[in-house]
């Protein structure tokens, strides 16, 4: 299943946020979206996931939905968006309540998702009893439970400390390794982008336009080696040089505002 951004433009009131953004995320492909603050990355993701109607253009999908997928386009949120009154287990089960699955089928999916995210021992805990990293794991388990075709991840690690971020990034890479799921990964962090993505869409400052789409030649499975790491670091620096000046301007604009 492919996800297509087809000439998407958007504005909030008089403020133009996105301008004619087009790209395609292929089946099993991971596309990172980077750009300066306020360039419309999260807005673009909301449009791609059907949570926001664009002013012009459209988000489209093409191809067959993978069998068993209950929610092909599934979000992982920056702030986790967990129901604080529900246990870990109930949070993961929550999206399944909208399906026609039996209780036993739901329980099997929840158990599988909890095991894949290392949460099997925490199923009875409330979100307030968990660390930030564990909460995001619950968010990931909830997403996995519906067997998505494409994960829409909106800065999923930005609310976490650096060690937890590193651990969860490794988890994301592992989960996406077999190519069964694709992902659109919105981030400020260029290191995350070059480590996880097959292609990186670089947006300009507001209104966000595509400045460049940078393919990463090294396959995800080959990125652990020293040589690959050096190449990725060089790519990261290249990306930074692409957006640095605009990031400075965007920062000044925020301060001015």
């Amino acid at each position: 299943m492919d996800l297509i951004a087809d000439h998407i433009s958007h504005r909030f009131g008089a403020l133009d946020v996105l301008d004619d953004v087009s790209f395609t995320v292929g089946a099993g492909e991971v596309v990172a979206i980077v750009g300066p603050s306020g360039c419309g990355k999260s807005t673009l993701l909301s449009i791609l996931g059907g949570l926001l109607e664009p002013a012009a253009g459209a988000a489209k999908w093409r191809g067959a939905v993978p069998s068993g997928s209950l929610n092909p386009l599934t979000f992982v949120f920056q702030d986790f968006a967990l129901l604080p009154w529900c246990t870990v287990e109930a949070n993961v089960e929550f999206p399944l309540l909208a399906t026609t699955l039996s209780r036993a089928e739901r329980a099997a999916l929840v158990t599988d998702a909890l095991q894949r995210t290392g949460l099997a021992d925490f199923r009875g805990a409330l979100p307030k009893q968990l660390s930030g990293g564990m909460r995001q794991r619950v968010g990931i388990a909830r997403a996995l439970a519906v067997k998505p075709a494409i994960l829409l991840m909106d800065e999923p690690l930005s609310a976490l400390d650096s060690q937890t971020r590193e651990l969860l990034l490794e988890d994301f890479i592992r989960l996406l390794a077999d190519g069964a799921m694709g992902a659109v990964y919105v981030t400020h962090n260029l290191e995350e982008a070059v480590r996880i993505a097959d292609r990186i869409v670089v947006l300009s400052r507001r209104p966000g336009r595509i400045r460049e789409i940078v393919p990463i030649a090294i396959t995800r499975s080959e990125r652990g080696g020293l040589e690959a790491r050096e190449k990725l670091l060089a790519l990261q620096n290249e990306l930074w040089s692409l957006i640095r000046n605009e990031a400075i301007d965007a920062e000044r604009e925020v301060q001015h505002a």
Binding site: N71, L73, W85, L97, L126, K128
Partner: protein, 272 residues
């Protein structure tokens, strides 16, 4: 030179860093409030027994307790309490049901919001007891106007707390549910209702106080039974011990309602 400075520093006496982080974290001691209340009652009783206070104007706590006992023994207490409880219970229930339904409608639907908020803003400030004579004209002189007055008072408080609670439910949770194609009714039941519950329960606490206030006022205007009517009669007959007995019973009503809401909050809001 640096060495000498270091040596001087080492020879100087080490002083503890003063603690500056105390206060601004008040904690209620479990028994302090009760002990203080007992002390006040003891002083009050002593002043009355010593003849320092005229018992007609301020009867002693013991005489108030005796009056409550007499009321209980004669059965008058239950007559008055049951009449008030019926009015509060019925009025509160009707007002709450209508208030919750209206509050949710205002919180969820555009037209209901536009119309509802305008009406509530216009009608909420009216003292509901001022409507009692009109309600008597409309509904007769039985229980209906008193119940309706209480229901009206409860309705506005509840509706406001419910739609404020719905508004306060984090939007990210609703968006999360929408992103999983969760149907509208399920979002209301599993996201909005529990999210709004803290505000709704806070509203119940206020609406229960409003109901208590209105039942006393309504009974003072047009009833021969009920705690409000009893307090008024006792005042007219200068039976201040009976009057204060009624006040104590009202206070116990308030305490019981507060305890009930506390219990509900503990059970339903364990996740906070």
């Amino acid at each position: 030179m640096l060495d000498r400075a270091a040596q001087q520093q080492q020879q100087a006496e080490a002083r503890p860093v003063a603690f500056r982080g105390a206060g601004f974290a008040p904690r209620a001691s479990r028994y302090a409030g009760w002990i203080a209340m007992l002390i006040v009652f003891a002083i009050w009783q002593a002043a009355g027994s010593a003849g320092l206070v005229n018992s007609l104007f301020l009867p002693t706590p013991l005489s108030v307790l005796r009056a409550i006992w007499q009321l209980a023994v004669t059965g008058a207490l239950w007559q008055h309490v049951s009449a008030s409880l019926f009015r509060i219970g019925t009025g509160w229930l009707l007002g709450t049901l209508a208030g919750v339904a209206t509050g949710f409608a205002i919180g969820l639907f555009n037209h209901a919001r536009a119309i509802g908020i305008t009406f509530i803003s216009a009608l909420f400030p009216i003292p509901k007891i001022a409507l009692l004579p009109l309600l008597i004209l409309w509904l007769g002189i039985g229980e209906e106007p008193k119940v309706a007055t209480i229901a009206l008072g409860v309705f506005f408080t509840t509706a406001i707390s419910v739609y404020s609670g719905v508004d306060a439910v984090p939007r990210n949770l609703i968006r999360m549910a929408q992103s999983f194609n969760v149907p509208f009714a399920t979002i209301v039941r599993r996201v909005i209702w529990p999210g709004a519950l803290p505000s709704i329960l806070a509203g119940f606490r206020i609406s229960a106080s409003v109901a208590l206030l209105l039942v006393v006022s309504a009974e003072m205007i047009g009833a021969d039974r009920g705690i409000g009517a009893f307090v008024l009669q006792a005042g007219n007959l200068m039976q201040t011990d009976q009057l204060l007995a009624g006040v104590v019973i009202l206070s116990l009503f308030g305490l019981a309602i507060g305890k009930l809401i506390n219990w509900l909050e503990t059970r339903l809001l364990r996740w906070r």
